[in-house]
Amino acid sequence: MLLLSSVTKRYGDVTALDRLSVTVPDDTYVSLLGASGSGKTTLLRVIAGFEEPDSGVVTYDGRRLDGIAPHRRGIGFVFQNFALFPHLSVGDNIAFGLRYREENPLTDTAEMRQRVADVIRLVGLEGLETRKVTAISGGQRQRVALARTLVTEPRVVLLDEPLGALDANLRERMCDELRSIRERLKVTFLHVTGSETEALLMGDTVAVLSAGSIAQIAPASSLFSAPHSADVARHLNAYNILSGKADGGRFLSDCARFVMPGHPAVQDGTPIEVALRFDRIFVGSADAGEAPEASISARFIASEFNGSSVLSFFRAEDGTLLQVVAHLSGPPPESFEEGALYNLAFNPQDIIPFIKRAA
């Protein structure tokens, strides 16, 4: 079990990690979601030992890791740019760790060949052993980087945006493969990404990193359906966030007012943020008689066609931007007129209210 407690790391005036605590259980796939600049790469580098925290403790199974040299930590690292050894062949890249590691290097050539062959089969690189790493494709390089790390049997593998350098269809295939490889080897993967779809798809557990600390860590489905804060909801890129205040069990803002579910016991006037899922909004015509109780009137701006769904953008009277997803599995959505006023209706029960933290 990898444990970080109260880890802080500063670069000059910038605080990259701010008293961050997190527990990474054994044999799981944890994905770490964070915007760029949220400190996610710093976090991996602190765990790997390329950076030392200013304060706080990193332990693995009770053994202190911080202060130990990177090569003695037993933690694998897969780099975003793969960082392959350009002067070595695919086979030699993979054998590198076994051959030259400080502790218990492998000298038996037969065993070496066997283990390299095993991992090459695991990641599907058969027949490329003697190739230069500069003479293979991006996806193959990704596999070499992974194989090179896995063959040394680290306890935890840190993956720094491992799919970022791959093109889209390759990325999807690698997603499945990463998961199945991990399940076979029973090691812990800590996968850092800036993409919410990748994080939710890959992780058994998803941690959201925001402003240098973990905002929430939960199983992927519960994180998605029940974010703990507006900040987490923002990271999921599936929620509209409205700010307003409480008013007798209702949410009140310049563009909307409706009853909050569960009637949170807050004083009137408390700043409140609510999250409203993109795909729980129904767009109706503005002059369709009486507006329903929970609705916002907004002007249509533009829409994006994403293949299986359409994402539409609306702007409310007070300037709030609202996004609406319509899935194309249902009846084809009507096309909206730019600049025209529409009624965005939703069920108040779908609203997730948060008490706004004082900045």
């Binding site: 390329f50 090569h71 933690i75 694998g76 392959l84 350009p86 590198f96 991006g138 790390t149």
Partner: protein, 281 residues
């Protein structure tokens, strides 16, 4: 101007420039084939390889003595070799040190660079005075060697600095994360990747040291290096045997360059140098 006119003009200019660069060397090479009775000037009285034979002691004894270059050639080569090894090693180590920012790194940088900026005659003279004061005998392998290192080390350092500047650190971190110690990482990853740069640093150090004159003049003591010996022969009378020797050393330098080019080609082929990482993205 139209390219039709411009092109020939540029061509002629370029040819003239190259002639200007290599003219002296060509004259020297032609004169080295002067006949036995001829002097160090035109006309060529007779085409022969007499002076080459004279240089190697293969001619019957004559009034002109052989060039006394055997020992000094050996000295210069040894000195250049020693300087190459020490300067390149120091250059690599120092540049490696400069990869992490440290206090007063700017001051240290200029201190190192000073060695190639200060006038050679001054440094040579200063070294001579200092060694006299301290009672140290001047010698090509001692006082002169130190100055050669001081002079060539900045060149090696700058070459390596440029190499490390575009070196992707994550490759080294990858090696560390595989359990490989920093020393092994340097040996197995860093060094093979910077090897083309090391070759260049070596070439710089060697050639600079091999024909260093001003610094050596005051510090080599009684046993002279090759440039000093050749200069010494000028004070008597010049014969075409010097030209013959000049041609031979030039050929030697070209061989050195050829070896460098071949090694470089191999290193670049083997590693695709540094492009490998960038291409991956």
């Amino acid at each position: 101007m139209e390219a039709r006119v411009l092109k020939p003009i540029l061509g002629v200019y370029c040819a003239a420039f190259i002639l200007f660069l290599y003219g002296p060397m060509i004259i020297l090479a032609i004169l080295s084939f002067q006949g036995a009775g001829g002097g160090p000037q035109f006309p060529i009285i007779e085409w022969s390889t007499y002076w080459y034979q004279h240089l190697l002691g293969m001619t019957p004894p004559s009034r002109i003595s052989r060039l006394p270059i055997g020992d000094s050639l050996l000295r210069s080569l040894t000195l250049a070799m020693m300087t190459t090894v020490v300067s390149t090693t120091l250059g690599v180590i120092t540049a490696q040190g400069f990869r992490t920012r440290f206090k007063a790194s700017g001051a240290v940088f200029y201190l190192v660079i000073l060695g190639m900026i200060v006038p050679g005659v001054l440094v040579g003279l200063g070294m001579a005075l200092l060694s006299n004061m301290l009672g140290i005998d001047r010698s090509w392998w001692g006082t002169a060697f130190v100055l050669h290192v001081v002079y060539t080390f900045p060149f090696a350092f700058l070459v390596m600095l440029a190499i490390f500047n575009r070196f992707d650190r994550s490759v080294e971190e990858a090696s560390l994360s595989l359990g490989v110690s920093p020393v092994q990482t340097f040996r197995r990853v860093t060094f093979p990747m910077i090897f083309p740069g090391v070759l260049s640093a070596m070439l710089f150090s060697f050639t600079l040291s091999y024909d260093e004159f001003s610094r050596t003049l005051f510090t080599s003591g009684r046993e002279l290096t090759l440039p000093l010996t050749i200069y010494g022969t000028f004070s008597v009378e010049i014969y075409p045997n010097i030209f013959a020797f000049g041609v031979l050393t030039t050929l030697f330098s070209f061989t050195l360059l050829l070896v460098y080019a071949l090694l470089m080609l191999r290193a670049v082929r083997a590693g695709r140098s540094f492009k490998g990482q960038e291409e991956a993205v």
